[in-house]
Symmetry: C2
Subunit: 550 residues, 2 copies
């Protein structure tokens, strides 16, 4: 039996594109002599469709698209992921299903049993969990079909208080009772830089445990903040990875089922470097945010600091230098050196740039506010005005020329609220809002791996917002390695305060940092969507009350 | 048996306040000779605690608070709502529980079976649904204890494609098997102006169906965008409302259980007017947003239009005229009449105001952008610059004097993206972002019910953004009654396009409107939290993808 796996880049709600990609892959699989071609979870809609699933129109379109694809399955069988209506009298309106298509019809249906409802996942919002399990017989082989989370039942979760079993049922265990000869998993599994190895273990673990070949098909590409890393896997019955498809790329791969049955002890293919994966994830995120929303050009503010320099390089890689515009917006507090660094950065990156001093608008604001402020001393108000003038200029450029403004705030700043709402927090997309400051340095070094693109002076100077004379980030914040250490433990690991302190962090610094995180929820609420690369990004995967005391 | 119900205003995460309120009510109930005092769902944490439930520290604090309250239950029994840890080896980490406290301990535990996971509710994100049911015996009576959604099993949902049974289990049906003599429901049921009557029917329906008295205890007050309307109910065994506690107010009420057993055919107490409820809801929302976050003063931009006038009046009612500051920010396009209306409005409301022309900052921006814009004709860019200059000024006032900026955008604008991001869409709280423009007029008339607070000229002039000469909203949008009709059907009712057209709306207008709604998701993503008064508000109850085609 020949099998093809298709790792494709779907666009949420774009039935035409998704169906075109799927049909193209069916044709290719057919040409390569495949009997079976497997796609990823909810490939018909793209993942995540979110509340589009509440619209009957949308669900009807899914059904029509599935039928149209089924009509292309002649002499070949395809497994696609789609929402289907729950026709039982009780329960949620939909199932998250894997549909087996052949000769114009649906010949088998597997429904997702475990519905992730945590972090960025809301599946129980839409879907009824299936509690009946069955096997699909194909070419004399018994095949167990599962959907993503169905195989993640043994996962420990950092925020489940050490509980290791989030679900009361194990689909793999249930399906094992039928003695299947192949275990298929349709996934929509987003990238998280700490989980690439763990993800492998989930699937190789199931293969070893049940002594059965496992095929996992993931999607690739980004839909708004979620970036899918591909990396689909073909695993032998003794749990070795025979083949892992590339990360962040489309790929269609055909192989023989029989090859998965031989016991091999070859080592798994090596994983790429973490920082390389993060880099590719962010490029993918930018590329698809623009491509899928029909835009090609970006604008950003270039300060001479490391954050905007890094975002500029990522944008150039994703969109091409000719599609990126830099505005350099110095104030009376911008040191000449920063201006030089910004200009040099724009030149190194090969992008067009403009320098606009914010002095005149700043003076105009000072003048009209003078009677109201009645001689009160300058404070954070005046700092924010500068940041907001820059946002007005960047958005004016964006509006006039149709460029999307890229936000350049990092995760450390966003966490502690070290940024100005409607100022440097503005933008259509936050590129590095899930990257801690210390990791920005790693990214910058990766960008410079072949030659100095980001000027050395940008990498070595101490971080500053430059909103008042001689200002440094460390005036208000702990040193970044300490800050990031606390943030990671509190945000990603959700560790209790006492445990963070027990790891050697200064108690007062920990408490002060956590207070800053909590009291700035209101700012993050209005932040742009953030490309997610971690296990816990700000945005819709982290839902904290604003008006709360904690 | 004497029973007290306590309808209180909890603050999320504020254990000290919540526990103080609860203990105070226990004392009062005790003084009134009650045997049993009942509080609302998750009263220990306040509803909704959201991802605070992911923090072990937070859950521990719940446990400690419950123990402390239990120690106050001497000679009286209390039922409180709290998250408790799920000690079973499998399943989600917590249960949403009703705990019966007596003589220092927990003597009975009921766990929520139906976990709302739609709209603003995410309960399956945190809680394991209970599937075992039991009865609590107290003073020789068998009492069935349920939690909110547990009694909503027969509800039709607009977005469930006509399905009327969202759940596969009915807790009332299960509990009825024990022949209980009283059915208690601990609620955390937010206000929605279309549901006040339906909410009554849910509970009176259960009483009639099982021929059993029903007691429903709700919380009141607002936590960020969610406003709880109170309206707790005591229902006789034949389904008559013996007493409904006030809306949007705290209340503690003691009665005799025996009074619920007599069959009465007195009519239910009348419901307040819808617009009065909306008005009270918004006042509550503002009051608690400020009070619970430790702020007392608001600033807003007053344009001379109906939206900002209405928000000003609501703010004055909620915070007091002395705590509200109006900035009137005319541009070269502001007609003298609007300026007059704005000034008159501020004077009528008795608030302090300042007039600041935005001309100088606008000229400064025009000047510095001139070389970049190279003679391109003015367009929406220049309109947005004006709106953003106003936001800079309002935020400067907010930053300098510690006032929270109130946003004055309405739901119709937010729906079609008729607003400027970082301009008139700025603010800490959106007061009327869930109120359609046509309902703003109803609200304004309600505000003027006793005397003309909002000048008549504001109520009668055609709506305009005044960002270019002679601009009218109807240049870009359908007339508001038509627009709102379409919006309501698409957003609240999630009706298919064809059904909206079938109700008599012009097909092209419907399609154009829906395109505007969908393509402006990116703007709403960055909007402030919106006080929710409807069944479907923008914000975290409506999760739409940004980079999607639909």
């Amino acid at each position: 039996m020949k099998i093809t796996i298709a790792q494709l880049n779907y666009h949420v709600g774009n039935f035409e594109r998704n169906s075109f990609l799927i049909k193209q892959a069916i044709k290719k699989a057919s040409d390569e002599g495949a009997d079976l071609v497997i796609f990823s979870e909810l490939c018909i809609t793209g993942y995540p469709p979110l509340d589009l699933l509440d619209h009957a129109d949308f669900v009807k379109k899914c059904d029509e698209t599935v039928k149209e694809i089924a009509s292309c399955c002649r002499g070949i069988t395809a497994i696609v992921g789609s929402p289907i209506i729950n026709t039982r009298p009780e329960g949620k309106k939909l199932f998250n299903a894997a549909l087996v298509l052949s000769e114009g019809g649906i010949i088998f249906e597997a429904r997702k049993a475990l519905l992730p409802t945590y972090d960025i996942f809301d599946e129980y919002r839409y879907f009824e969990p299936e509690r009946n399990f069955g096997i699909f017989e194909f070419k004399g082989k018994k095949i167990a079909i599962t959907i993503c989370e169905d195989l993640w039942d043994e996962q420990p979760f950092p925020n489940e208080f050490e509980k290791t079993r989030l679900y009361t049922v194990s689909p793999a265990e249930e399906l094992a009772k039928f003695n299947p000869e192949l275990l298929i998993n349709l996934s929509a599994s987003p990238f998280s830089y700490t989980r690439t190895g763990a993800k492998r273990k989930i699937f190789t673990g199931k293969a070893s445990k049940y002594n059965i070949p496992v095929i996992m098909v993931n999607q690739t590409g980004a839909n708004t903040e979620l970036i899918f890393d591909g990396g689909s896997m073909v695993i032998s019955k003794n749990g070795r990875i025979i083949r892992q498809l590339p990360f962040f790329e489309e790929a269609v791969y055909t192989f023989d089922y029989e090859d998965l049955l031989s016991v091999t002890d070859e080592a798994d293919p090596p994983l790429p470097d973490q920082i390389e994966l993060i880099y590719k994830a962010l490029i993918t995120g930018i590329k698809d945010y623009f491509g899928k929303s029909g835009f090609s050009k970006a604008v950003l503010g270039l300060s001479g600091g490391i954050d905007s320099a890094t975002v500029l390089c990522l944008a150039v890689e994703a969109l091409g230098a000719e599609n990126v515009k830099a505005l350099i917006l110095p104030s009376r507090y911008t040191p000449a050196r920063s201006l030089d660094d910004a200009v040099k950065m724009a030149q190194n990156a090969g992008v067009s740039y403009e320098v606009i001093s914010i002095e005149k608008p700043f003076m105009a604001f000072e003048e009209v506010l003078k009677p109201i402020f009645r001689g009160l001393p300058p404070d954070v108000t005046e700092e924010n005005i500068q940041a907001r003038i820059r946002a007005v200029l960047l958005m004016a450029y964006s509006n006039k020329f149709g460029h999307i403004l890229l936000n350049t705030s990092n995760k450390s700043e966003a966490a502690v609220g070290y940024g100005t709402l409607y100022g440097d927090m503005a933008g259509g997309l936050s590129v590095i809002g899930d990257v801690y400051k210390t990791d920005i340095y790693r990214l910058a070094k990766y960008i410079n791996r072949n030659s100095e693109v980001i000027p050395e002076s940008i990498l070595t100077k101490p971080p500053s917002a430059e909103l008042r004379p001689d200002q440094l980030d460390t005036d208000s914040l702990p040193e970044y390695p300490v800050l990031d250490g606390i943030l990671y433990r509190y945000i990603e690991k959700q560790m209790p305060v006492s445990s963070i302190i027990a790891e050697g962090f200064d108690a007062e610094t920990v408490l002060k940092t956590i207070r800053m995180i909590n009291s700035n929820e209101y700012k993050r609420y209005q932040a742009p969507p953030i490309l997610r690369i971690s296990q816990k990004a700000f945005g819709y995967g982290r839902r904290m009350p604003i008006v709360a005391k904690y």
